[in-house]
C-alpha cells in the first residue's frame, strides 16, 4: 500500500510519500529528517494524539487548569477522553505535572496538569 502524509513533528511540515505492507512501513521519501519515519509509521498502524484541554478547578485563582494526555492517547479515543474530562473537577492548588486522571479510560495515558493554579485569596 502507499499514500501521502504531511509530517507534523516540527513546523517544517514535510510532505512524505510512504509505502507499507500489513505489518511494517517499507519506505518514505522527501522528508528533510528522520523523525518523519516514526510519525508516518504511527499514522498507519497506531495513530495517537496528545489531547490538550482544560478541567475545572475549585477554589482556584482561575476557574480552569490546562491539562494534556501523557503519553498521547489513541486517536479514536480523543472525543471519549474529552467527554470524560468534562466531569472532572480538581481542587486548587494545582502544579505543573500533577496527575489529574490516572490511566484515563484504560488507555495507559495519564491526564497531567500543564499550568500552576493557586488557591483563591
Amino acid at each position: 500500500m502507499n499514500g501521502q502524509f504531511t509530517c507534523v513533528v516540527c513546523p517544517t511540515g514535510c510532505v512524505v510519500n510512504a509505502e507499507w505492507n500489513e505489518t511494517e512501513l517499507l519506505s518514505t521519501d522527501h522528508a528533510q529528517c528522520k523523525l518523519s519515519w516514526d510519525y508516518v509509521r504511527g499514522e498507519i498502524f497506531d495513530p495517537r494524539r496528545t489531547v490538550t484541554t482544560t478541567v475545572r478547578v475549585d477554589d482556584g485563582d482561575l476557574p480552569l487548569v490546562s491539562v494534556k494526555s501523557d503519553p498521547p492517547v489513541p486517536k479514536r479515543t480523543v472525543f471519549e477522553v474529552m467527554q470524560h474530562l468534562s466531569h472532572v473537577v480538581v481542587k486548587a492548588p494545582v502544579n505543573i505535572g500533577d496527575i489529574v486522571v490516572t490511566n484515563v479510560l484504560d488507555t495507559g495515558s495519564n491526564i497531567v496538569a500543564t499550568k500552576r493554579i493557586q488557591r483563591k485569596v
Partner: protein, 417 residues
C-alpha cells in the same frame, strides 16, 4: 510639595510575555544591575497562558510543550535570576531619553532606564480592519478572544462557528471548538493558500474533517441581535467576487483569524522608526532601533509563528541592551539589508558586519526548491537551499561574520531558481 522620585534602572523591559521574559532573564544573567519587566496584565507569560495546545519548544528544547509549561520555564528563570516584575502596571509614555511614565493602582510614577526593550507583542485585526458589511450583531469574535474565553474563563462563545481566516490561532481554535462540542462548518481563507502553518492545517482541520475553502471570504454577516449566518463567496484572481459563487452558511458565531498587528504605540511616541511592512521597529543586528538604547524583540518587532525564535531573538536583544547599559554604545550598523525578488521582508534591516547574524524573513508566495541568496552587488555572500517555502513559515538563516568582510553597504536577500 513632595519631590517626584524617579526610579533608575539598567534595563526596562516593556511587556512580560515570552519576548519580555527571555530578554529580561538574558539581561540579568549578563550582569545588568537592575532589570525590570513592566507588565500590564496580572501575571507573566502573556499569550502563552491561553495557548494550552502543545508544540512550543520543538525547535529550541527538542520537546513539545504546552504554552503554560513553556511560560513557566521563563517565569521560574526570572524569579531565580532576580528580575524585578511590576505587574498590573502600564507604560503610558516613553521618551527618546528612555524615561518611562508608568501607571498602576499605586499611582503614576517615572522610571529612567539606560536601556529599554520593547516587547509589547501584537494584537489581532478585527472586523473593523477588514470591513465586512452587515449589521453589528453579537457573535463576532477574534480567535484570540475566543481562546481567552474558552481556555481561561470557561465561557462558550457559540454552538456553530464559521471561521474566517486561516491564521494559526484560528486553526487551533477550530479544533478546540470542535473538541468542546461546537460545530465548525468551515474555515474560509481569502488567499489561494493557507495563512497558518501546514502542520496546523493537518492536525486541526484534516483530523476533524473541517473543510478549508481557499480563495473564499465572508461578504456579509446576517442577524440583527445575534449572528444567524454568513454569506461566503469565491474571490477571483483579480480580487473580485466570482459571479454566482455566493452561498449562505448558517451559524451563530463568526470567528476571525485575519492577521496580527505589532503593538507599537509606545515606540511611535518615542519616535522610533517603524517598518511599513512588518509594522515593527527597524532594527540592526543588536535589535537596536533607530533610537540608541531602545531595543525591540518578539511580535512587537515582527509577527512570529514559533515562540522558540521569539525567545532566541529576545535573548540577543537582552544581551545587547545590557552591553549598551554598561558601555553606552554598540558597533555601528551601516550595512543595509533589503528584500529582493520573492522576499517580503528581512529582519534585521541593518547590520554591523562584524559578527554572525541570524536573519529572519518571509517569502511573498508559496514556492518549492529555491535558493535563498544573500548578495552584495554581484557578490554572493551566502546561498541556502530551501525545499518548502510559504509566507506562513518564517525562514531563518545564520550568516557568519567572516562572510561580511569586504562587502559593500548594501546586502540584498532574494530567491533564485
Amino acid at each position: 510639595m513632595r519631590t517626584e522620585e524617579v526610579e533608575e534602572v539598567d534595563v526596562a523591559v516593556i511587556g512580560g510575555g515570552p519576548a519580555g521574559m527571555s530578554a529580561a532573564v538574558a539581561a540579568q544573567k549578563a550582569g545588568a544591575a537592575r532589570v525590570v519587566i513592566i507588565e500590564r496584565g496580572e501575571r507573566l507569560g502573556g499569550i502563552l497562558n491561553q495557548c494550552i495546545h502543545d508544540g512550543f519548544g520543538t525547535k529550541s528544547m527538542g520537546k513539545a510543550l504546552t504554552g503554560p509549561e513553556y511560560a513557566q520555564i521563563y517565569i521560574d528563570l526570572a524569579r531565580e535570576t532576580g528580575v524585578s516584575c511590576y505587574l498590573n502596571t502600564m507604560v503610558l509614555n516613553l521618551t527618546p531619553e528612555r524615561e518611562l511614565t508608568v501607571c498602576s493602582t499605586g499611582g503614576v510614577r517615572r522610571i529612567r532606564a539606560k536601556s529599554v526593550i520593547l516587547c509589547m507583542g501584537c494584537r489581532e485585526r478585527t472586523r473593523g480592519a477588514i470591513g465586512i458589511p452587515g449589521y453589528r450583531p453579537a457573535g463576532v469574535f477574534t480567535a484570540g478572544v475566543v481562546q481567552y474565553y474558552m481556555n481561561i474563563r470557561n465561557l462558550a462563545v457559540g454552538r456553530r462557528v464559521v471561521v474566517l481566516g486561516s491564521g494559526d490561532v484560528g486553526l487551533i481554535m477550530a479544533r478546540r471548538l470542535t473538541l468542546e462540542g461546537a460545530q465548525v462548518p468551515c474555515v474560509a481563507e481569502i488567499l489561494p493558500y493557507p495563512s497558518g502553518l501546514v502542520r496546523n492545517v493537518v492536525q486541526c482541520l484534516e483530523d476533524f474533517g473541517i473543510p478549508l475553502y481557499l480563495s473564499t471570504t465572508v461578504v456579509e454577516i446576517h442577524g440583527r441581535d445575534r449572528v444567524t449566518g454568513v454569506t461566503l463567496a469565491k474571490i477571483g484572481p483579480r480580487g473580485g467576487i466570482v459571479p454566482g459563487s455566493k452561498r449562505l452558511v448558517k451559524c451563530d458565531t463568526l470567528m476571525l483569524s485575519v492577521g496580527l498587528i505589532a503593538e507599537n504605540e509606545l515606540a511611535k511616541k518615542a519616535g522610533v522608526a517603524l517598518s511599513p511592512i512588518t509594522g515593527g521597529p527597524i532594527v540592526d543586528d543588536h535589535f537596536q532601533t533607530s533610537i540608541p538604547g531602545i531595543f525591540s524583540a518578539g511580535n512587537a518587532l515582527q509577527v512570529h509563528d514559533l515562540v522558540d525564535y521569539v525567545s532566541l531573538e529576545a535573548e540577543k536583544a537582552g544581551l545587547s541592551a545590557t552591553e549598551y547599559a554598561h558601555t553606552g554604545k554598540l558597533p555601528e550598523a551601516n550595512i543595509r539589508v533589503s528584500p529582493g525578488q520573492g522576499i517580503r521582508y528581512v529582519v534585521p534591516q541593518y547590520i554591523s558586519g562584524t559578527e554572525a547574524v541570524d536573519f529572519s524573513m518571509r517569502v511573498v508566495v508559496p514556492d518549492l526548491d529555491r535558493y535563498v541568496v544573500f548578495r552584495s552587488g554581484g557578490q554572493t555572500v551566502r546561498r541556502m537551499k530551501q525545499n518548502v517555502l510559504a509566507p506562513s513559515s518564517m525562514v531563518r538563516f545564520r550568516v557568519r561574520g567572516e562572510r561580511f568582510q569586504n562587502i559593500g553597504r548594501e546586502l540584498t536577500v532574494e530567491l533564485q531558481a
